[in-house]
Each structure stands twice: as C-alpha cells, then as structure tokens.
Symmetry: C2
Subunit: 195 residues, 2 copies
C-alpha cells in the first residue's frame, strides 16, 4: 500500500486536490490505518496522472488560491481493484507513547502521568468524533465495519489506560527510588538465555 494506492483510494470516493487528500487522511475515515505526507502525495499524483489513472483539472475558487482537482479514470479504478486483490503485507504500529511507557520506571512520575492522560484524551476525542460521524449517516459496509473496529480498539485502549494508570504510577513511584535496573526480556535474546 503505497502513496499511489492511497491516492487512488481517496479519489475513488470523490474528486479531490492534493491538499484535500492530505486533509482527508488527517481527519477522514482513512487516516486511522494509513497515512501519507505531501512529500509522497504530490509525486504520486504526478505519476498517476502520467500513467493515465487520474486526470486533473484546474479550478478557481473565491477567496482562495486556485487548485487542481483530480478524478480517477476507469484505468485507475481497475488498478485500485488489482491492488485490493493483492495479498496484504503490511501491519505496523509505531507509537512513541508506548515506547516511553515501556520505560516508565526511567521517567519522572509526573511525566508518565501526563503521557497517559494525553493518550486517554486523544482516544476520547477520537471516539466522540467517530460517534458523531456515524450518526450523520452510514457509509459503505466496509467503511462501517472498519469504523466499528476502530471504535472498539479506541474504547479498549482508553479503558485500559484509565483502569491501570494508577497501578503503574504507584509501581514506578516505588521503583523510582531504587537504582534503575534494566530488566531483561525472557525470550527476546536467545544468546543471552544461553549464557
């Protein structure tokens, strides 16, 4: 799933400019499980256009600079179908928050608390937005399914953080008084286990 696939997917749901594609990734239904920045979107749009998978037209607007709005061609729709039929290969989560929470005992308690609160707030905001969007009307079966899935995960995440926050803070408040001792995972380093 590269930037071209992402652009095709967004455009398959309606015409858009490069800027709008980016905006829809930031706050639309796609953004939860994919992302692409301007640095990828614009070259991708250029290539898709050269390959005849999308066509662009210039549009003037009142009070705003002109924009190029892209439509997906029949060729582009077929290409998107091909992509969807390929075996999925990428499942990846990158989380700076979890990375820091993993080493919570090395951080000040106040900071760990802030990290958790921040994440709870983020989830709760997301949940409210998605709930609102769902009430306004439903999308396709697939979009609904994925939205429901996202809601379920956000709910579970928020709930876990709310329920276990105090236990972690209590544990590191005690641990924080001991010298920082790096704990060793049990099976991640087989050569260590062999020693």
């Amino acid at each position: 799933m590269d930037a071209r696939a992402i652009c095709l997917a967004v455009l398959s749901m309606g015409d858009a400019s490069g800027y709008e594609i980016r905006k829809s990734l930031e706050s639309g239904p796609f953004g939860s499980f994919t992302d692409a920045g301007y640095g990828s979107i614009y070259p991708a749009l250029k290539r898709l256009s050269e390959e005849g998978m999308i066509t662009g037209r210039q549009e003037s607007q009142e009070g705003r600079p002109d924009k190029t709005v892209y439509s997906v061609t029949q060729k582009g729709k077929l290409a998107l179908l091909d992509i969807l039929h390929e075996a999925p290969s990428v499942e990846r989560l990158t989380s700076d928050h979890l990375f820091r929470l993993f080493f919570a005992e090395l951080l000040p308690v106040r900071m760990v608390e802030a990290l958790i609160e921040e994440r709870i707030a983020h989830y709760r905001t997301k949940i409210a937005q998605m709930r609102e969007g769902r009430e306004r009307g439903h999308g396709s079966p697939g979009a609904d399914f994925v939205c429901g899935f996202g809601l379920a995960l956000y709910e579970a995440g928020a709930h876990y953080l709310e329920e276990h926050k105090h236990a972690l803070l209590a544990a590191i408040a005690i641990d924080g008084e001991a010298p920082p001792a790096a704990q060793q995972p049990d099976s991640a380093l087989p050569s260590q286990a062999a020693e």
Copy 2:
C-alpha cells in the same frame, strides 16, 4: 524514535547482535509498537558505535557463524534517557488488512472472509503468546503495563472481528449484486460538500 533509539532501547535490556535485535523486534515485547529492518539496524549500529554509545565485541559460536555483540555504554544510556524525555511525536498505524476491508464490497465475499479469519487467527496467536510470556515472569512495571495494553487491544480486535464478521459478509453478499457504487464519506472532502 528512529532506528538508533530502537537499538539503544533493545540493548539497554541486554547485549545483542544486529541479527538478535531484529529477532527481538519480530517477536519480543518491543515489536508491537515499533519496528526496524536490517537496512536501518546495521547502519544505526555502525553510527552508534562511532559515536561511542555502544561497543561491539566479536564472539565465536559453535555451529554458527561468528557474531558481533553490542553493549550500550554509559553515554548511550544517557542518550536513551534524553530520547525518552523528548515529547512523543509519532503515532501511526498502517494496516493493509483494514485498507482492504474498507473496500469490502468491491471484493469477493470469500476473500473478505479469509482476510478477517486471517486477522482473527493472528490476534489469537499473539494473545496466547503474550499470555504465556506473562506467566513465565514479569518484567518492569512499564513493560507489564504496555504488555497489558497490547493484550487489551488484541482482545478487543479479535472480539470485534468475531462478532461482526457475519454481518459484514451478509451485507456485501447483498451489495455485491448491485453495481459497485463508490460511497462518499461525509466530511472528508469539504470541497465536495461545498458543491
């Protein structure tokens, strides 16, 4: 959180070779929320070594090729602490599965079913592994917290998929008989809404 931070983090929990770092990301506690391939790990180790944050020593093994095992230096530990104190910036999920499920009505029912089953199996396997690892002994408070968080999310994900699978399959079996009509998200493309 770049490859250098990841290597420092893994090494802070015990000495390891480049290969072992990669293996620990594939199946250790870190791999759920971060990742790095050989293409990033080896250049990062080289740089960290040049910067005096890690030291490498050659080790011979029986029945296996020699390896270079890296240890983190005091300088490296301080650098990791600095990194942990920086504000978190990256939270990203990329999921080929969800991307395809979003367009479920464009895909054959059998394929959608397989995608979902595959994901359920993956979650259930992960859950079992993590449960097993937890029984064997506990890690640091932070590691336990993050592990519990991961478990909660996997459980929620598996449960949602199991509970809603049939509804989606039923919906697209009906929809699959209509001409594929791209549905338009309601608020993702403000310029469309304006038209």
